[in-house]
Amino acid sequence: MTNSWTDIKNADLVVIMGGNAAEAHPCGFKWVTEAKATRGAKLVVVDPRFTRSAAVADYYAPIRQGTDIAFLNGVMNYLIQNDKIQWDYVKAFTNASFVVKEGFTYQDGLFTGYDEQKRDYNRSTWDYEMGPDGYAVVDETLQNPRCVWNLLKQHVSVYTPELVERITGTPKDKFLKVASMMAECSAPNKTMTSMYALGWTQHSKGSQNIRCMAMIQLMLGNIGVRGGGMNALRGHSNIQGLTDLGLMSNLIPGYLTLPTEREADFNAYMSTRGFKPLRPNQMSYWQNYKKFFVSFQKTMWGPAATAENNFAYDWLPKLDVPAYDVLRAFELMDQGKMNIYFCQGFNPLQAFPNKAKLARALGKLKLLVVMDPLETETARFWENHGIYNEANPASIQTEVIQLPTTCFAEDEGSLVNSGRWLQWHWPGGSPPGEAKTDVFIMSQIHLRLKEMYRKDGGAVPEPIVNLTWNYKDPNEPTAEELAKEMNGSVLTDVLDPNDPTKKVLEAGKQLASFGLLRDDGSTAAGCWIYTGCFTEAGNMMARRDNSDPGDTGAYSKWSFSWPANRRIIYNRASCNLDGQPWDDTRKLIWWDGAKWTGFDVPDIAPTAKPRDVGPFIMNPEGVSRLFTRGMMRDGPFPVHYEPFESPVANLIAPKVRGNPVARVFKDDFAQFADTGSKEFPYAATSYRLTEHFHYWTKTNHVNSVLQPEFFVEISPELAKEKGIANAGWVRVWSKRGSVIAKAYVTKRIRPLMVDGKATHIVGIPIHWGFVGAAKKGFPANVLTPFVGDANIETPEYKAFLVNIEPTTGPVA
């Protein structure tokens, strides 16, 4: 989230699209109710299903899954055509006026530089025209036909309300009503918030779904303000933290990136991370990259990371592909190219697409290690459960070690909520049996490896034997020790260059902010964006003062919010060019003539004069981007692409199948249903229920009683057409697998008219499996396709094709 849950109370319009907060985030959704009750805010829901969020909305519009970009590009077109733009904001705080290079074009669904063989673009023309002064060329009058604004205007002009209806199935009048409600928020004193979740991410163009709404929010002037923002509701309790800390193939904590093998040495690595400002005076905060990176390396390898060895640059692995994401991992496993796999609190057999492929892949491992508080299907993939998991244990050679871990109630530490608050918690109970913490397990593995490499040598032992491990009890570091390490500390005294008798930084002290980090090895910080969370003043994450001066919803003394305890990021943009709030009733920060002050920590240098420095300090432009240069693989503007399995061809680019640059492995392409397939005529989508959390709660008695059994949801129209009775058994199958479920016939799902043809939707809740307290059932991922988003590889769980027929119940 750019904002926070408690900030939603400040909104005038709440748009829930790509999520279902009332069911998936019920207690956070109460802030929507609060905004409706106290501010008279309106709620709009756009979803293929009439969800519980829709049930309390002021306006609901249906949409076919996988067509959000067509809808949102249509909204952009509406805003432009009707001049519903917050012009002062757009002109000053976005790159609308930046001139794009000659040679950049868009035609028939593709941008310049497409290579069909590689399924990739040469993105060299997707950039700004550079002037002789070394800065990007801008035209503040917006007259230049090649400025971003004019290119955008042209790009979205095709998405008329009529075309939007044909593609999305949203009736024109409903689309126009939603667009006009959003358009009202172009007034400087009206704000809209966007609440989205996996309904937007789980598509082969998920990143661009989100980008569309971010662009709309910029056009309306709603980023950086109270009651505005782009608010990813997020999933697991610490999914934000794990992302911040970079537990992903290509990341280093704090959104730094692992080197690629094209960056043979440290200088080459730093040369592409210099982030020189693209306009005069801009902060371009990533210019400090080296300070963050060196401080991270010092956390890893302490005294062994020196200026002489480039701070142990070579001890980091270098990537040969963009990332070894989960889809690539299971593809490699299926090819027999992986030997050992760890699942720490993760149940991939249920959670990843195409279960048959996953089970086959797991059976090719030598060793599978599962660390979990609960039984999982993954740990028992080799066990035969009849139709629910057909397996022949004798033929599966994978050894499985299952380690019992503590759960939330038994451990201590911090979790990051959707609003970037790091909240500390304390243990309440003793673990069951011999269960141990994950920290114990990881430490034991490390200490054993370290000892073996020290004693026996082996392949490149240095990064393992030199890993810092200065904990009081090396067998199990405490949460406090690890939190202090994340925050960072001073390693050697730093003297004042003007008065060497004075210390600027004193060795051994916790750092108070990331502004103090240095690139000479004198500071360490495990995750620079968290610096400030555990300082000499103590554990800031454990703060529990719930006062809220000004009743802003910031709660600045409750826990710690990254970065720098800032509650709303880009908050400089809550003020006009002269530094005064757009809306006096929703003040956040402001310029008092000498400095920035207010209720939140300013997201700009405190003395940076209003007209000198732009609010988007992380961007070298100093402004936000309506045109995103070459930073996304599938285009600098969003384009409507159909899902890989779609009931219709792409109306704007009939020759383009799916996202033209999404990676598809060869065998998986063969397992996609054809466009408009007669064999698989229905558009399916998967989702969660309010009573369940993924595959955990089916192990709980209470939640299993609340929702005991697998079912699918269909419309009365489809039920009638197929002769399916409510609560009767059905078989649902895709090109990858088949499931048996109870049918729930409900008016909450209706057929949509897509380009003149009725399209039926099949809804598939995800929660069942073959272990647990609930009745045995099938996970939705028996059916889903093995393909991900073109930029970050989130699988396309939300839009695929199936068939359905009545059947008899499963044999017990």
Binding site: C27, G28, K30, L242, L245, S249, K337, A409, T690, A773
Partner: protein, 199 residues
């Protein structure tokens, strides 16, 4: 509201069930005290409290865990009740159908209690000691890494990349667990590394 005056002290000194009325009616002589003495103590007075966070979604509702026995005193603590934390700014004491049943997770019959091993071709899990399990894991890792670590690519660039062993991290663990996990995994050169953020 500042939490200096903890709920525990508050209940302990003011006399449970009627705490609110007693504080609100200070100065009214002995009537309330006499009344309070007739009421048996609130059952949670005999428990210890821990402030925690709901483990499900990232709304991150504040919860209070009540236990018999005190971890702080080095005792074994058995969780008896979990409820919403009324002081928490986000959820203000409320919980959803999942959060309200959190104790059903903690006490689930599906909780794992012992390290187990399923040997190649076997149709069952068997108990194994922690030491045996951890030794086996570490030895398997070293053997695989020594054999398959890519030290240099075909152009002779040092890459120190390990792709034959992978790790899925858990996004319901703490930041501190994640920091520890990151250090251990990345120091081996492992690149097949991910968490739920991508799915």
């Amino acid at each position: 509201m500042n939490m200096e005056l903890s709920r525990r002290q508050f209940l302990g000194t003011a006399g449970a069930g009627v705490a609110g009325t007693t504080l609100g009616a200070l100065g009214f002589g002995g009537v309330e005290e006499a009344y309070a003495s007739t009421i048996k103590p609130f059952r949670l007075v005999n428990t210890t409290e821990a402030r925690n966070t709901c483990t499900y979604c990232s709304v991150a509702c504040g919860i209070i865990i009540y236990s018999k026995g005190s971890l702080a005193k080095g005792e074994k603590a058995d969780i008896t009740h979990i409820e919403g934390d009324t002081d928490h700014p986000t959820n203000r004491g409320t919980l959803c159908p999942k959060g309200a049943a959190l104790i059903s997770y903690v006490k689930s019959e599906q909780r794992l209690k012992y390290p187990m091993i399923r040997r190649a071709g076997s149709d069952k899990f068997e108990r194994v000691s922690w030491n045996e399990a951890l030794d086996k894991i570490a030895k398997a890792m070293k053997a695989d890494r020594d054999q398959n670590l890519v030290q240099k690519n075909k152009d002779g660039v040092t890459v120190n990349r390990w792709t034959t062993t992978g790790f899925l991290a858990a996004s319901a663990t703490t930041n501190e667990t994640a920091m520890c996990t990151y250090k251990v995994v990345r120091s081996t050169g492992m690149v097949v590394f991910d968490n739920q953020a991508r799915v």
